[in-house]
Structure formats: structure tokens, C-alpha cells
Symmetry: C2
Subunit: 303 residues, 2 copies
């Protein structure tokens, strides 16, 4: 067992999907990630560095603490909490942003508390690549760094992103971002180009089609868990990352076998995330629920 540091967003999400809607529900990359990752670890072994506004509901802070997330690095700043308004149509693979209010997140500049600087496993959730770089300049000899990003940073700060990628072990991105950043349509060509920039491995997230792990000498496919209803895809990618890095930190090793298994746990945690709005399903998941799906994945893929 080891510890994880996540640097990302804490948000109030207003989301509409074909199955309903929620208003100002707890969300944000650091939240989905940590609620997912903590399932694999000891209480308070997932550390959040993020920012909220003065209006951040105390019930949400309590929720994080009740779920045994270390919130020492969660700062409260003057102003309002980051808000996202989005919707999904029947093609649940893609979010349509209706409004983004960065609020206090606009001036977020991550300061890593000294107690956190030796954390071995780091997740740089989707924030400005210059801030991701800033985090890496503060931490001391991490064992594994995983980085996520989004289309906005690829188009507005590609050079910064390419710079930070040199220091990253595993780069997580979705299929359209893979094409966008590489300017290649074919995923295999795209991945080879991105690997040449520095990251040791890439995970391409493909929504309902699962995910693919690539490094210089291997490829591993994991399907998504079959579900009849996807209530809300928000946070699926960060929950995937939480399961992935959570399992690696639990095993405290990064050999290929562990990474393959971690990719399966990533897919499993993504599947729980989408079965409800906000964190409702994800936070109620027990270890035996996770293991049940893990065994099912063997039946889904072994021949």
C-alpha cells in the first residue's frame, strides 16, 4: 500500500442527460479521481490539492472527509467555486459544454503542502499544463506520474503540454484528443508519434469501447463494462484514472502485469461512475462489487 497525490478541480456540476439531470452536484476531476482511488487504499492515503470558493457547500466537504479523502491541500479562496454546465444526448460518448465558470479555479496555482511532497504516485488531472509542470517541480522523486488533459489545452497550450509530457510516465487521453494532439487519424500512428515526445506509455480512453494501453513494446485492450443504462458519463475518465492509479499504489509496483490489471480496474471504476449522477453510485461501491466485475472481465476477454 502506498499513497497518491491528485492535483485537479473540485467543481459544482449541472448536468442533463437523456435519463435526468442534477444541479450543482459535487464533481470535478480531483473528486471523481479520489473517490475512485480511495477504494484501493487505506483511509486518507489519497491527497487532494485543489481550490474551492467561499460558497462551497459544507456538506460536500463533509462528503469528502466521510469518504476518507485527505483534504489538507484543498484550499478555500475568496470568490465562487468552479461551475460546469453540460449535457449529453443519446450518444453518451461526448459531453456538450453549455457553460463553464472557472471562478476561483481561474487563478489556481497549486502549492504542494510539504507533507505531500514525497507522495510516490501522482495524478495530474486536467489543468493548465504549465500548472502540471509546476506541480512536478515541487514533488520529490515520485515513482509514477500520470497526466490527463483536454482538447482546450491541446489547442491553446500544445508546446507547454509537450514539455510536461517529457516528465510523465503515463499519458491519459481520449480518442479524439489522441487524434487532435498527434494530427494523425489512425490511432496506432497517433500513439507512436506521441510516445516519441517522451511519455513512457499512453492510455487511450474510448468511452463505451473501453480503453487501450500502449507502451513501446506492448498493447493491452480493455472493454468497457456492459451496461444497460448510462445515467451520466461525467467523471468516467477521472474515475478510470482513480481505479488505475489506485490499484498501482495498492500493489506499490509498476510492472507490466500490474499495469494491465490496473487498466481493468480503471475500466471497472469508470463503469460504476456512469451508473448514477454525480458520485452517488461510485461512493457506495464496496470492494466485493469491484472484485465481482474484475472476475467478469476475465470471462469477457479470455478465450
Amino acid at each position: 500500500m502506498s499513497k497518491i497525490l491528485v492535483v485537479g478541480s473540485v467543481a459544482l456540476d449541472t448536468v442533463t442527460t437523456p435519463f435526468g439531470s442534477v444541479k450543482e452536484a459535487l464533481g470535478g476531476s480531483a473528486v471523481y479521481f479520489s473517490i475512485s482511488a480511495i477504494k484501493f487504499l487505506e483511509p486518507f492515503d489519497v491527497r487532494i490539492v485543489a481550490v474551492v470558493g467561499e460558497d462551497f457547500p459544507s456538506k460536500y466537504l463533509k462528503l469528502l472527509k466521510k469518504n476518507k479523502i485527505d483534504t489538507e491541500g484543498l484550499k478555500k479562496e475568496k470568490g465562487k467555486t468552479f461551475r460546469w454546465i453540460g449535457e449529453y444526448n443519446y450518444n453518451l460518448n461526448e459531453a456538450h459544454t453549455i457553460d463553464t465558470k472557472l471562478n476561483v479555479f481561474e487563478n489556481f496555482s497549486p502549492e504542494i503542502p510539504s507533507a505531500y511532497k514525497n507522495t510516490p504516485y501522482i495524478f495530474l488531472a486536467n489543468i493548465d499544463p504549465d500548472l502540471q509542470e509546476k506541480v512536478l517541480n515541487q514533488v520529490i522523486s515520485p515513482k509514477l506520474v500520470v497526466l490527463d488533459t483536454m482538447n482546450f489545452w491541446i489547442s491553446s497550450k500544445k508546446e507547454s503540454l509537450k514539455n510536461v509530457l517529457k516528465k510523465v510516465d503515463i499519458f491519459l487521453l481520449n480518442e479524439s484528443e489522441t487524434r487532435q494532439i498527434s494530427e494523425e487519424f489512425n490511432i496506432l500512428k497517433a500513439v507512436k508519434k506521441i510516445l516519441s515526445w517522451g511519455p513512457k506509455a499512453i492510455i487511450v480512453k474510448r468511452g463505451e469501447y473501453g480503453a487501450i494501453y500502449f507502451d513501446n513494446s506492448s498493447i493491452f485492450y480493455v472493454p468497457s463494462y456492459p451496461l444497460e443504462k448510462i445515467y451520466d458519463p461525467t467523471g468516467a475518465g477521472d474515475s478510470f484514472a482513480g481505479g488505475f492509479l489506485g490499484y498501482i499504489a495498492k500493489k506499490d509496483k509498476v510492472d507490466r502485469k500490474t499495469i494491465k490489471q490496473a487498466t481493468v480496474f480503471g475500466s471497472i471504476m469508470g463503469s460504476f461512475a456512469v451508473e448514477s449522477f454525480s458520485l452517488d453510485k461510485l461512493r457506495s461501491v464496496r470492494w466485493k462489487d469491484i472484485l465481482k466485475r474484475y472476475k467478469e472481465f476475465k470471462n469477457f476477454t479470455y478465450f
Copy 2:
């Protein structure tokens, strides 16, 4: 080892993709299927029932014979051979039909030669569902019947298709056809509905995302083989079917383990088909090439 009967089309395909084009190349569902399936079987253990016109090039008939396909059931009729003109853009998952000239295929009415009537494994390629039914009325106690179709029959002859599905063991269709025939967007819901109509199992083909096998108590996922260049997706689905049924006929059993392995062989044969225009790559593939990819699939999916 056992034998297979395929009833489908023999066509002259004119195809344009981002990587080039071919004019009046040998194609058609029965051709791709049989060239793929024969790799698994003894010479002349794949039997074609189809029709061509008087203009069918003798080099193509020679090609089929050279590849050890039993063409006793390939009839030559007055008129011209079926022609298809299509193109693919960078999204290689979907063909755009520019022109279809059915020619002699328009009045095709499959007569199964008496020597073929006891064939244990039957592939009903994409033809009018009333003709598929007609084939089933002529064959005697097959061990396994696999049926393919297309969007055109789903919209124009849905009731005929639903009728023949009652007599089918495995129904092959692509993802958009799965949604179309079931009127369900969610694939799992769609599959449950289709299974309730009678087929014992369904394979949903997902192009670059691989395929999923479903029956009433199991799900099996196979990825597509990673390729940097897909020259021409034409025939991928029929080559998949050929690998799938070819392997089942080779083993001459239909237990779940064989079916899972057959699904992997299907994906492998589909991958060879798309690596060249027409049949160029598919027909040159040797057994050791197939086995090499089969071993790679274990690395791709076992954890």
C-alpha cells in the same frame, strides 16, 4: 474437420479509399467468406452457392479454384455480374455506396445442389431474407447456421428477416444495424431484444473497435487487430465470418470455448482482409501468420 456451405454474392467491386482505388476487383460476400474460411479447412471443404454473369472474368474463377474453393454451386446466368461501386473516407468504419448494379444477382434464387444439402455448417451471407429462408428449407439438419444481413433488408423486409432469425443459431450484424433492427440505442438492450426473437447468439461487429459475442448467459469481447494502415475495409465482415465459422468447422464443435476462440479468429481474418484492396492480402495469408496474431491477441487481452 468438417464442411461449410456459403450462400451469398460474387461481385465486381470498384472501391476508392484514402489509400488508393481498384476497379472491378473480385469481391462479394461469398468470396471474402470462402477465401477466409478455407484457411481453416481441407481443400474444397468450402462450398459456394452464388451467381455470376456471362462477363465474369475467367481469371477470377481460376482464382477461386486455385484457392481450393468448391465452385460447383456457382452458376453462370445470362446477363452481367453484380457490380458495386463504393468509397470510404478517413472514417473507415462506414462505406458510402455510389452505385449498385444487381444485374444477374437481382433474380438470384439459390438452388442447393444435392451434394451440398447435408453440409453441417451454413453461412447465409447478406441476401434477401426470403432467399435465406429458402436455403434453410433445402438443407438437411445443419449443425450451425450463421446469418448476416444489412440495413437495406432491415428497412425493407424486417418481418421476413425476423422469421428467418427464428431458425438461426448466430446472427451477425454491425453496430448501426443492431440499433436499427432493435430500435434501441443501447447495445445491451438492443441485443436482449434481438435474442428474444429467436437467434441463440449475436455477434455485433464494431469495425476498428472489434466485435462482441452475446448469448443468453455470456458476453465475449474481441478487439480488432491494431493496424497502421487500413487500405480497404471491403469484405472485413465476411472475412470475419469466414474465420469464425472456418474455425468452428475445423474443430467441428460449438461449445462456448470454441466459439470464443472462433470470434478471435474472425477478428484476425477481418484484419488481414483490410490490409489490401480486394483479396490480395487475405489469399496470401498462411496458417502461421494467423497463429502469430492469435498469440498476440492473448497478450492484448489477458491480465
